[in-house]
Symmetry: C2
């Protein structure tokens, strides 16, 4: 446990290291700290901080840089979010000022905007609620043996995909099948729909149809797509801004990692409720930060991820996050992210608002 003075020194090291990217020495600190002590005193304090594992040096006679543990302590106890300048606020609003046709368009754009604002990479996930229900399922023949299947949910998301039935099922049976799905399943949560799809639905179909071949696969496929999480990654190329030219291979792997939708949930740590059981300050609100070694992926050991969970009424929770180097201007970014997720929520509520005018 660092003393108050040590904590101030740590905070200053974080700040300066962040600005300059260079290790911070005792003399530099002397000129910057809010109290005056000699460099020798600072050196003594720094020695203690180093014993505690909060700062470290590259070689015997270099200045200190924060260790991951140091960042952790800084984030949990010292950081104060900075107010966001009004022009940034305007910029967010201006970027969001478009007509969106689907929620995913808003969510996707939010990742783009956030990455442009920060010059880091942004990841976004739309609002999701466990009790999102099925509101309708349609199949429209398009001629040429093509059909399009459309599934709408209470969250306002619409999933559609083209299929080809290859004469496996008559159009009569198809209509019946769609009617059965709607009669039986509309209004039910997608999770329940999934269960019923494995249970009673197949029996119903075989009872009333001549052949249900292919239909179940089709419906299952659309359902799976409608229920799956869609992540959007914006500003991938910003990873090049701070990459060491030496480890391009690592960077390549990271690029490939971000393209795999399957790993993003674990990155964003979606399953964990309260990640920090100790006593972190509460200024961060719904924002949390994960640092290098806290990922279970060595590729990210030099990266940090600032995650904000946002909440959109009954439509559930979404996530928006900033991925960058361990050393980021956290106090500014967290302020920004707080504001940004508020704006995103506003935009989403606005969308849903129209949405419910009519229902």
């Amino acid at each position: 446990m660092p003393t108050k003075r040590q904590a101030l020194i740590l905070a200053e090291i974080v700040r300066i290291y962040n600005e300059t990217g260079q290790p911070v020495g005792s003399k530099t600190l002397m000129g910057q700290l809010p109290f005056h002590v000699s460099s020798a005193t600072i050196r003594n304090e720094m020695a203690t901080l180093e014993e505690d594992g909060l700062i470290m040096k590259n070689h015997t006679s270099s200045g200190r840089i924060p260790s991951t543990a140091g960042y952790r302590y800084y984030l949990d106890h010292l950081l104060q979010p900075t107010a966001v300048p009004p022009q940034v606020f305007d910029k967010i609003a201006a970027n969001f000022d478009r007509d969106y046709h689907e929620i995913d368009e808003i969510v996707k754009q939010s990742a783009t905007i956030l990455s442009n604002l920060t010059n880091y990479t942004a990841i976004s996930l739309g609002p999701e609620s466990a009790d999102m229900t099925l509101t309708g399922f349609r199949i429209i023949p398009l001629g040429n043996d093509q059909i399009i299947a459309i599934l709408a949910t209470s969250a306002g998301t619409v999933e559609s995909r083209v299929y080809r039935l290859l004469h496996l099922i008559s159009s009569d049976d198809l209509e019946k099948a769609v009617r059965i799905i709607n009669d039986q399943l509309v209004g039910l949560p997608l999770t329940v729909v999934k269960q019923k799809l494995a249970g009673e639905i197949p029996q119903l179909l075989t009872k009333y149809l001549h052949s249900s071949a292919g239909f179940l696969d089709l419906f299952g496929d659309v359902l799976k797509r409608a229920a799956s999480q869609h992540f959007y990654v914006g500003g991938r190329s910003n990873l090049l801004n701070f990459a060491q030219p030496t480890d391009l291979d690592q960077l390549k792997s990271l690029y490939q990692l971000l393209d795999k939708e399957s790993v993003l949930p674990s990155l964003l740590d979606l399953n964990q409720i309260d990640p920090r059981p100790d006593d972190p300050q509460q200024v961060l609100g719904p924002i949390s930060v994960r640092l290098g070694d806290e990922f279970n992926n060595s590729l990210l050991s030099d990266y940090g991820l600032i995650t904000a969970k946002y909440h959109v009424g009954q439509h559930g929770d979404g996530v928006i996050a900033i991925l960058g180097p361990t050393s980021m201007p956290y106090s500014q970014l967290i302020g920004l992210l707080q504001l940004f997720s508020d704006e995103l929520v506003k935009k989403l509520v606005e969308y849903y608002g129209y949405f419910h005018d009519d229902s």
Copy 2:
């Protein structure tokens, strides 16, 4: 005009430089050429090649590397495509062995497969025909003021997008509008549809509907999307394989370039019919190569693009391309690309084949 012997030397320089990435000297060449002359003789020949601008050196006493003009000459007169080993052939087939629901899925996957095979970046564009016609337009209400608009074309592509009408138009009028579109426009090429949309259609709509507000924008939007080219870029991260660590900024710009769909047509040089008016050898068939300074973009000055145009019956032409450094193993890649585009065409024909069973 290089002599026969100089041409052989140039070809060998290209080959060795490609393998090693190092400038090639006269002694190295002496051991590799299909004829024996002394290194001094080779030096003389190289001096001539350099006068002709086909090779160059980094500094006074370094080996030679091919200049862009040298590559150009090599590609036009010397290159011989290499036969593709059967296991590569199998790999292509295995990767394509899936059920595809839409043409764009095949096209997209083709970029991914090609980039994996080559370890370069691949760009693909689906087959397009100028006389693709409109085969149907639907609007399906989804409740909650949402509708989905669906446009199908003779090329088998289906464009769908969700819209919200906000009470601007009654569902009666909407149905009528859709009927008018289908009556008037089905069977016409999309280009003609576009013209009519600017001409007589608005009048028809105002004649028969109470209000057509919003509908024209909506239809125009779907139409535009259906008619626009969709490029797919696969293996972006492969750009990191050969990037100089020094010019990460340039690389970042290139990444952003590849994300802009609007610049890809000019990259692929889609408008040009016969790019090389002089007398290139014909072994390349429908494949052409563009080198650095032949792009009108300085970002690409160190890159090369191997482009194959393919043809799918009446469904028009598509393009598949490999983007990599100026120095690539062209003879292998061109053989591969030839084979690959054949396989892609097969797969597409297979898709269209089913497609027309029914019509």
